[in-house]
Subunit: 192 residues, 2 copies
Amino acid sequence: MSRADELAEVLTRIVATRGLEQVSVREVAGAAGVSIGAVQHHFATKDEMLAFAFRHVVERTRTRISGLPVGRSPRRNLSRVLRQLLPLDEERRTECRVYVAFAARAALDPALAAIQRETQAQLLDGITATLREAKAAGLGAGRVPPLDPHADAKLLLAVVDGLTFDAVGEPDRLPPRQLTALLDRALKRLLG
Amino acid sequence: MSRADELAEVLTRIVATRGLEQVSVREVAGAAGVSIGAVQHHFATKDEMLAFAFRHVVERTRTRISGLPVGRSPRRNLSRVLRQLLPLDEERRTECRVYVAFAARAALDPALAAIQRETQAQLLDGITATLREAKAAGLGAGRVPPLDPHADAKLLLAVVDGLTFDAVGEPDRLPPRQLTALLDRALKRLLG
């Protein structure tokens, strides 16, 4: 892991435990045990540091997804991929808190918004492609309204983002078993 | 509107335009054109002020919902209520930005988390009750898995929160017409 990646890890831990508003070059330097100058060597500004860290978190999720096996059932493939986005264990809980904090800030920060847009676009492409396969295989036939890979991909991503958002705010109401049951409920209703 | 409510309005505008991390007693006093002491007269701490403002935003949404007509179609009733939670116009866009920012912070702030929990519980109760009526009226029969008012209420709330969350970060990808189309798609698939 590069030094910049290590600093991004330190930053995401601060976001997960104390919040995005606690992040500063000084805080990251202190938590990483390096000088302020060492952090500034990698990131000219706080905004640059935040954008790098957001990308770092997103990349970690993406790497995990790209390592997943791909089976023959589109529904099971989707379930496997989308579970990686839910706060089902300590690692993903931290990721999700950080993701929600960054996405909330993206409403006001064009650099973070661009990363958010790119990430969502890639996810949507992947989900849409799998739903197309599902449709070609005759799944979701007879649904009302019928399976529409493009629209239903947006809806599925909203389900996953909504479950994540709700669970980050209320972990007790939505424990891991509940999250996976609700995701699978949505997939079953869509694809049978 | 009480003076405290006016200060809450000022605070939510700061959150919507510049972000939650820009909020301070000093900033709110400045934007409201009053002294710091005048703000402190209403709120002993910044956290108290934030909790009041979060409740204020939530109350505004709730008031709007309680003023809605209730018709005979459970699906249309649900659609009418849930649209109030989506960023479909300038007022709701501001509310949604503020809601997402507060909910993100709720992960680390027990007072905000309590408000979030109470709000979500009330919404879930309302959605669950309407889905029970729908089930009693024979709607959603023959769905696989069959309509389960409790589980499907959680899923619907996740759809709405997810659409809101996604649209706050990417307003261009999810304009109002798209948001209502996706919501109605989810309702139609659930209830026919």
